[in-house]
Amino acid sequence: MKLLTHNMLTSHVKGVTKGYPLLIKATEVKVSEVEFNPNFVSRMIPKLEWSALVQAADGLGHLQDLPAELVTDYEKNEEFLRKVHRVLLEVEVLEGCLQCPESGREFPISRGVPNMLLNEDEA
């Protein structure tokens, strides 16, 4: 699971109102090289919840020098875009789980794939 995806996911356990962001509990994380595309990163930035991204990266120990606040005029700032690219697309949680911040329910991640299915009583 990449952090771009994590930034978009929310808990949908019945009755939960504050299901975002999910807490990441990772047992295996991988960093791989993905070709940098500044256009894509620029387009994704407005869609992101910045603080959730920072918190997630920090929780995995991969924050490095990503700023806590979104930089203005980021479209032309290649250095900044590269930092965002790394965090969004290159850091992957392979094993672990995502935890609903309100109900505590855990969604397992295995082989990089989160399983978000709920049981019948939670749906």
């Binding site: 990449k2 978009m8 256009n39 990089g112 049981n119 019948e120 749906a123």
Partner: protein, 488 residues
């Protein structure tokens, strides 16, 4: 009648007498399959260039030859770089019902538009293409020789010419009644070929990871074009299966993600769909499919999830949603929840299938949920493209689901049997849904009264479940249904 700056349009033939490059007409030669899907594909690709579809007089959608106005050569190149419906495009120099009319038309074409391509120091060749007829070699040569009234000054080079010209003859669409003389003739300068080669290069036959319902390559690319997928987009498939649609979208440079309720398919484990293969191998999953075509960098994620219970936060917007929802026949239609009709997951899969008690997901709900999801999670102008299964004897347009935030762009039928077909529906988001509490945008408000009662829709769609087997499946020998093709 349109007047373009600096142009005078000639009465009948619509060919300009004094012409700037923008008055040129382009001839698109289309393949004769997926006929109903062609116009929406070309329109969608034109709209990516900010251009509208502007055909010449006597436009016939079913014809393999379309003459278009108002385009530049860059527009044509862009369309041909994406289309799988069109075979080639030409800058049209002349046309007519007979060779005599063609000659008149060609002699009227401004020489200043021709001369850059007829230079002494350049090389060229002339192809002859006949639709719905086979011509002997000598006859082709005769036709080329008959064009000598055009002042070709360069040298002929059949292997690697600088410029290629084409004489195209249309012998109609009836293979049982081929006329001696062509019904219509065109002559033009070849600009580009379409991407029909993708149908072969991305064929599901050769793909690492397939399933029973993997979408055939041609249709996947058509869907990506109908959805106007482009580079740097983020595209989502909520019924991703083996990722065929993501493969097509990533080919056009979009980043892709998907979800599916089937744990085994998402993880690429369990029984194989190929004949002679029992279990799926380690390299069989969606990510591997993208890697096979060099698009792994565009892979975002796939997740195991129930499409009826979306996992995306509010404000999360995709550029396009492209999907082939389950029809309830070939792969079981499931969703989580407590009801009778639960389907137990098969127990002989490698690994736990991780599907809690399932219930039959009524087909009508799938589309309601899909449209509602799209209204909430598409960007404005973003498109939803999906297949709608149809029981033909009962079909009427009102059965196509509607949503106040989505505009219906196209509806193309692919016949599967005498009683069944599926329709490729394309919708475009035109406005945001109203916040909860306002009922106006709710799905159902825009159905005709007879269809508002859920019972009617369920009956129609569920009757499909009981009646038909969709004859679309992938085998190592090809995928069905085949379309009859006239031309070589």
């Amino acid at each position: 009648m349109r007047f373009l700056a600096g142009c005078i349009l000639h009465g009948n033939s619509n060919m300009a007498i004094h012409c700037s490059r923008t008055c040129l007409q382009y001839l698109i030669h289309l393949a004769h399959d997926n006929v109903d899907f062609r116009l929406p594909e070309i329109r969608s690709l034109l709209s990516l260039r900010g251009k509208s579809f502007d055909p010449c007089e006597n436009f016939k959608e079913k014809s393999p030859f379309w003459r278009l106005n108002g385009l530049s050569e860059e527009d044509v190149n862009s369309i041909m770089a994406r289309t799988v419906c069109a075979k080639s495009a030409f800058e049209l120099w002349g046309h007519g019902r007979t060779h005599s009319e063609l000659r008149t038309s060609l002699l009227k074409y401004p020489t200043e538009n021709m001369s850059p391509f007829l230079q002494k120091d350049s090389t060229y060749k002339i192809n002859v293409y006949t639709f719905n007829k086979t011509l002997e070699f000598e006859d082709r040569i005769k036709k080329i020789d008959a064009m000598e009234y055009l002042s070709f000054e360069g040298r002929v080079n059949l292997k690697n010419p600088k410029h290629i010209f084409c004489l195209l003859e249309d012998y109609g669409t009836d293979p049982n009644n081929i006329p001696d003389e062509p019904l219509y003739i065109y002559f033009g300068r070849w600009i580009a070929d379409g991407q029909r080669e993708l149908i072969r290069s991305h064929s599901v036959k050769n793909r690492h990871f397939i399933g029973n319902t993997s979408m055939d390559a041609g249709l996947s690319f058509i869907m990506a074009n109908h959805a106007r997928v482009k580079a740097h987009d983020l595209v989502y498939d909520p019924f991703v299966g083996t990722g065929s649609l993501l493969v097509a979208c990533s080919h056009f440079g979009a980043y892709v993600c998907g979800t599916d309720i089937d744990y085994n398919t998402i993880h690429g484990i369990g029984k194989a769909s190929r004949k002679n293969q029992k279990w799926r191998g380690p390299d069989e999953n969606i990510r591997a499919n993208l890697r096979q075509y060099g698009s792994e960098k565009l892979y975002v994620d796939v997740l195991v999830s129930d499409a009826s219970k979306p996992i995306w936060r509010d404000g999360m917007l995709f550029d396009a949603i492209i999907t082939d929802p389950p029809y309830g026949i070939r792969e079981s239609t499931r969703r989580t929840g407590s009801q009778k009709d639960s389907v137990k997951p098969p127990e002989d899969y490698v690994g736990d299938s991780h599907v809690p008690v399932s219930m039959a997901y009524h087909l009508s709900d799938i589309f309601t949920d899909l449209l509602n999801f799209s209204a909430h999670h598409l960007v404005i102008g973003g498109r939803l493209v999906y297949w709608l299964p149809i029981y033909r004897p009962e079909y009427c347009e009102e059965m196509v689901p509607l949503n106040a935030c989505l505009r219906l762009v196209s509806n193309c039928e692919q016949t599967l049997s005498s009683h069944t077909s599926r329709r490729l529906i394309t919708m475009e988001k035109i406005k945001e849904p109203e916040p909860l509490g306002h009922q106006a945008a709710r799905y159902g408000a825009h159905l005709s009264p007879s269809l508002r009662a859920p019972v009617h829709r369920q009956t129609h769609l569920d009757s499909i479940t009981s009646l038909i087997t969709f004859p679309i499946y992938v085998t190592p020998f090809g995928s069905f249904p085949r379309c009859y093709c006239f031309c070589s």
